[in-house]
């Protein structure tokens, strides 16, 4: 993308990308949705990037459109940050796996100033099911399954009509969860837009109308992520004079959790958090952990068929969401009760 592009406002930016996609000048357009509770998060993120020695820089700013180069190690990506409904959307073009790696890495380093939103597998499919009613049909082109110990793609040779029950059945059969799904939204026999949704805040537009994609994919996705955030909000341990109120999140499993899986959870947590392994598993793994970036703290218990996360003194929805996502990526078949 040329770095000299300037847009007066959001609609100009959307027009530009809309035309480019319609004319097939771009193979794909990537949108990353970030949540933030900080004031002036983009300026702060750039300042932090400088402190951390990243090659991230502000190229231009017009109205509330920030053109930014985000650089992690030897890779960098130019794109635009625009505010969308209390969130920030980073919009850019490029090769999918490269750009998603850069943005995931950027999000980890920028937390809690900016954090990629999280829409777990089931709410993601439910969201598509809701949007589907506006179209004649929604076709599944491809999907990514996350299974214990592996992630694999499942290409559909013959088109599969999107249906929540069918999708959940496929995941159950594979003992996996959907982490991403590529869909074609059709009306009057034409493809209105083709896009991909992922659990981790990443949406990709491959073809069709940008504005339809924005209103029927980006905005519902943000709405779903906000609903998840609300479910994760206000869960810190509360104290009255003579009692304590805990608001745990429980993730239930049909099959027993293996020692190897529990050990993987332990290892991932020890790598990323200030933790204490209070019981090392067999029969129960119990870890107390603090998020070193935003100060949230949790007790995590891994039982035979259940993982329980008990928020402690402080618990932000973003930090709790990241922890739930960590567990669900290792143990994808769980059902979260929140």
């Amino acid at each position: 993308m040329p770095s000299g592009l300037n847009f007066a406002d959001k609609s100009q930016l959307f027009d530009y990308y809309g035309r480019a996609i319609e004319r097939s000048e771009l193979p794909s357009l990537h949108c990353f949705i970030f949540s933030s509770d900080a004031e002036s998060p983009i300026e702060r993120a750039i300042e932090r990037a400088r402190d951390k020695g990243l090659i991230t820089s502000l190229l231009s700013k017009n109205d509330q459109i920030y053109q930014v180069r985000i650089g992690i190690r030897t890779s960098s990506q130019i794109g635009f940050f625009v505010p969308v409904d209390k969130h920030w959307m980073f919009i850019s073009e490029g090769e999918s796996s490269r750009i998603s790696q850069i943005m995931a890495s950027f999000s980890r380093r920028m937390f809690p100033i900016l954090n990629l939103v999280y829409v777990p597998s089931l709410p993601l499919l439910e969201m598509v099911e809701r949007v589907k009613t506006k179209y004649d049909s929604v076709e599944v082109v491809e999907g990514t399954f996350c299974k214990t110990g592996e992630t694999f793609r499942n290409w559909k040779k013959t088109p599969l009509e999107f249906n929540l029950k069918t999708m959940m059945g496929l995941a159950r059969r594979e003992e996996a969860k959907w982490t991403g799904v590529t869909l074609k939204f059709k009306a009057d026999g034409d493809v209105v837009f083709g896009c991909r949704f992922s659990e981790n805040g990443h949406l990709t537009l491959y073809s069709g109308n940008f504005l339809e994609f924005y209103s029927d994919a980006v905005l519902p996705y943000i709405y779903s992520s906000e609903q998840i955030r609300q479910k994760l909000d206000g869960r810190e341990r509360k104290e009255t004079d003579d009692s304590v109120i805990l608001s745990p999140i429980s993730i239930d499993f049909k099959a027993p959790i293996s020692e190897t899986e529990a050990h993987t959870i332990e290892k991932k947590i020890i790598d990323g958090y200030a933790a204490a392994v209070l019981h090392p598993g067999n029969p129960m793994l119990m870890i107390q952990l603090s998020d070193r970036d935003d100060g949230s703290s949790f007790d995590l218990y891994v039982f035979k068929k259940k993982v329980e996360i008990v928020p402690q003194q402080k618990s932000t929805p973003d930090s709790l969401g990241n922890l739930v996502s960590l567990v669900s990526d290792i143990l994808p078949t769980g059902t979260a009760l929140w």
Binding site: R237, A274, A275, M286, Q288
Partner: protein, 317 residues
């Protein structure tokens, strides 16, 4: 929890103590709830001032009351390390609680000591020497089944307590530990240090998350810690402040915090790679510290022996 005593060195020993403490915190929370459910008037870790003495007091783990009369005392032992240790614990319980003169009421409570099932091997070796006033009760705290089972070995306690302990079990949730983090018994320093370190993170907000050092008021830190003490010891300032300050001083020696000269402000650093199993790290540092002190003591002793030898030689000459 099925606990197998570990004896691989000082770090494992400290970590085992931390594990035992965690289990004890869970036990106290669960057992107190059980007493409440049974509608027993139960004081937990209460200070009973001994009549006629200004200083002396007793604080049994659980005291079952009938008015001012203490009818039952239940002591909980998280760990019994040897037959000798078992005998010491049982004899001490008998000495402490045989007669309790509290508020002018002289009580002669029944005494029951709970010990972990895995240490039965030690208890069996001294069973015939256990004071006759003391009833023993083995317990098994197993998180796999969320159950604590009891095997009462005497019949000294009151009927209500007997109903709970005699061959019975209490269902519980291991997450009960998340309610509180402390009981009155002093935890190992690395345990408290980790708890405080977690509390310090709670002072982070989106404005301070990038700062290298974050000042925290000692008073505020104590206030936040207070919520992790169960209600029955929450107002015991001596317990809280001693524990907090020793752990903070330890954190200072490990370069995790700096305590300002007036001991009121803690500055802690949010930089560096302080992820990992920090309790295990603290245990290692603590073990090293203990070893250093022991080595210094040994060196001191050697020196004094050498001096004595020189002196005796001088005398001889």
């Amino acid at each position: 929890m099925v606990r197998i005593p570990i004896d691989n060195g000082p770090v494992d020993k400290i970590l085992k103590d931390c594990d035992d403490y965690t289990d004890s915190v869970t036990f106290f929370s669960v057992f107190k709830d059980e007493m409440d459910k049974a509608k027993l008037s139960c004081e937990v870790e209460h200070d009973f001032k001994i009549s006629g003495s200004k200083r002396e007091n007793r604080n049994p783990d659980f005291a079952i009351m009938k008015g001012n009369d203490i009818i039952d005392v239940i002591e909980h032992k998280a760990s019994i390390s040897s037959p000798q240790n078992a005998l010491e614990e049982f004899t001490d319980a008998e000495k402490q609680y045989r007669i309790l003169d509290y508020n002018g009421v002289v009580s002669k409570p029944s005494i029951t000591v709970l010990y972990p099932e895995w240490s039965r091997i030690h208890v069996d070796k001294v069973r015939d020497k256990v004071p006759s006033d003391v009833s023993l009760c083995a317990f098994d705290q197993t998180s796999a089944d969320d159950v604590i089972t009891f095997k009462l070995e005497g019949d000294g306690c009151c009927d209500d307590v007997k109903e709970i302990l005699d061959g019975n079990s209490i269902r519980f949730k291991a997450t009960a530990y998340s309610k509180y983090k402390f009981i009155r018994r002093d935890p190992p320093i690395p345990y408290t240090a980790f708890q405080i370190w977690g509390l310090l993170y709670g002072f982070l907000d989106s404005k301070s998350s990038d700062k290298v050092e974050i000042p925290v008021s000692y008073k505020e830190l104590c206030r936040r810690a207070e919520y992790f003490f169960p209600p029955w010891i929450r107002n015991n300032h001596q317990v809280k402040s001693n524990r907090m300050m020793s752990a903070l001083k330890f954190l200072q020696t490990t370069k995790f915090v700096k305590i300002a000269g007036d001991d009121t402000i803690v500055r802690y650093s949010n930089r560096g790679t302080k992820s990992g199993d920090l309790q295990a790290y603290f245990a290692k540092k603590y073990a090293e510290k203990i070893m250093k002190i022991k080595d210094a003591d040994k060196a001191k002793k050697r020196k004094s022996i050498a001096r004595t030898n020189v002196a005796s030689l001088d005398n001889f000459l």
